[in-house]
Amino acid sequence: MITFIIRRLITAIFLLLVVSVITFAIFFLIPRLAGQNANELAAQYVGRNPTPAAIQQMVERLGLDQPLPVQYWHFLKGLVAGENYSAGPSVTYCPPPCFGYSFRSQLAVWPQMVSALPVTVSLALGAAILWLLGGVSIGVLSALRRGSIFDRFSMGVALAGVSLPIFFTGLISLELFSYKWPLFPNVEYVNIAVNPLLWARNLVLPWVTLAFLYAALYARLTRAGMLETMNEDYIRTARAKGLRERSVVVKHGLRAALTPILTIFGMDLGLLLGGAILTESTFSLPGLGQFTVLAIQNQDFPEIMGVVMLAAFFIVIANMLVDILYAAIDPRVRIS
């Protein structure tokens, strides 16, 4: 197990390096290949009607006059060893992982991401609990009551959940439950440490909106998996041995059907931790998703590099954890 983890971590580091190279190439190399020079790149960060001298100052500030490999080297060095940086009267040290400083605000990128992370984690974990409980339960019940009114209704709702875009369901939920019937007015993120009740209340609509989509997917997946599993011989054997139906369904049926769900859950949660862009934008939650949108709108390359690397990290870690859990859930799988 330890060897497995170490091997996966080494692979993860290599993978993150590849992601950094690709992202750097997309946002730093391609504009150059398209003919943009350093002055044109820098001009967008200097405000309205910049003088040539102001643009040149920004070129030097952002290091855009340096060769691309040197720029990439500074980025890597900051990640691993930190970097000294001057954004005013004194020089400050940016400890690792230093993702550099925003091209727009000259403020360090990593603290901004750390500040946004709890919002995204709150959203993702809360929604994940809801969609897992809701989606899996409905899937199991639908499978057990295959063809019933409940089955048809729940799969119909699941189809709606999968089909309706998040920004649509989000806006509808805001219109109904925040403006028209203000059960959840002023949906704003409140830190859990400041007011746990308000934190939860203000996240109910985003949780439900996000969970609606995923619960629908998971319900359908669980139903399909359960239908397949419940027809297996060992299920018939378990029933024949007199085990309680609950034990048959949960311990034997569901457990076997969970493995593909677990795989997808790892991917989904990893992706969400990198930023639930649409949900955060719809509900104005200042998480990593909103940070990503702003970074792209502002063409703020250090911020874009930061969120991409962080999102990739979460996905890699989530997948590693899923693989470990795989073995725990399904004894047929061995980590080797």
């Binding site: 952002l62 901004q112 509900f283 792209i296």
Partner: protein, 585 residues
Amino acid sequence: MAALALAACGGGATSTTGAAGPTGGSTGGSTGATGGNAVANAGVTGIANPSDHKGGTLTFASSSTPDSLDGGNEYYAWTLNFNRLYQTPLLTYKSSPGGAGTTMVPGIATALGQVSPDGLTWTYHIKKGLKYEDGSAVTAGDVKYAVERTYDRGVLANGPSYFPQLLADPTYKGPYKDPNGDLTSIVVPDPYTIQFHLLAPFPDFDYVVGAFGQTAPVPKAKDTGAKYELHPMSTGPYMFQSYQVNKQAVLVKNPNWTQNEDTEARQNVDKVILTLNVNADDIDNRLISGDLDVDSAGSGVQAAARAKVLGNPSLLKNSDNGFGNREWFIYLDSKVAPLTNVACRQAIEYAANKTDLQTAYGGPVAGGDIASTLLLPGMGGYSAFDLYNAKSQPGGDVANAKKALTTCGKANGFTTGLAYRSDRPKEVAGAQALQQALKAVGINVQLHGYPAGNYYGNFAGAPTFMHKNNIGIAFGGWAPDWPDGYGMLWALTSGNSIVPTGNANIGELNDPAVNKLFKDVASPKLTLDQRSAMYGQVDKLSMQQAVILPEVYAKVLIYRPPTVTNAYIDNAWGMYNYAVLGKSS
């Protein structure tokens, strides 16, 4: 990455750079109100809900991030407006509805600048006894330092560049790069006097020191460079309690501010909260439900809320439809063939369907009034000329367009490119409308959409890009840095304003007569009326050269909850004056 790409679509953040607006009061007239016995525009014709009530919390929300909350690093109109709550420059706009609101009055200075006979030295005296939020004294040296720090454009990149252009030592690098250096063109002979020595006369210098936050004093010991915006030292009625970047700023009363020292701001509420990056439609809905007081961008409600407000008399009576302090227009690049021929440009001026363009921008209420000049109504020098029948034939003057095409040797039309900001729905609609209108006279337009973020830096504002890609037409707009001809016209029409990137003179007008007028208008011997008349000439000459096709004098439909007091659309900002707002409960 697909999610990132998807998320990058739409949004269309509207940057509201520039500071000033029409000098005339935007009175009555164009309420655009529909329905019932609604009384709209109380905040256009006067002050809506005037009140001396003290207390409460005033909540602002913005759909984007500010360029900065550091007065020395701002250019957006709304951030400059909001800045008056906690920083006071040497001069400031008078807090008054109507034309008076565009005049400069003392801020921390005792009076407007005293200018030497040769126009090269401007002297200001600081009020004695002024204090920062921590009780320390404000001195003229702090004002000098505030200006010095703005010279480092690598750290404070967003503000205007007037000081390096006007003062006598433009190569000064700023106190961060050159801690032992000195901006010798600013002299502080005593703690309460500051003198600016200019390279050449510049009659609008009072606007330079007052229309922006760059002369709001900064104590050197408290300066943290790029981080200063997290807690600027307050000289205004409020001070920072907290600021989480991209999230929220909370301001509380500044105990060391007194009304006597600052006549243009008020301390009406106990707390001010600014929440950032709130969905624009959510902002509108919260305004309507009363859960939010002000949309800080001041650019008006979105389309969905507009329909609600205009269709509901009880909402309409709390709305104001005033001039938004800017003009939307279309550049015609005089260096891209065949637009190198003025007659070809004039053909476009005639052929464009101004009504469709107005509709693209939101119609007469949310878009604005059809424009025919560069100067905004109410500005000194403005006259309502209409060279291309924009108002008499708003659907387009096809006959004159075809005549102009014949004159420029393109009787059968021609082909050219058109640039617009693809993440701005109004420009998308406008581009399509213009394409259709020009097609009717044989002008084929190839549309090129570019992201707004680097539209001026890399595309429309880069002359070589325009030439290389044969793009003769580009959408744009302008909000003047201050409310006179210089603020509105110089960057758009002066030959000296053309730069290789970030160019606003996209028409690339380099007319000797216009350039001479800009040079002559700087004479310290001229009166305000004489200068205004010269700017009027610049306007006419530029329009004769047809480098800009005016679309609309922009208007905004702003909704305010009935609990917001002292609201009026300030002609300096084209939005409510944030320094005087209050709450009734």
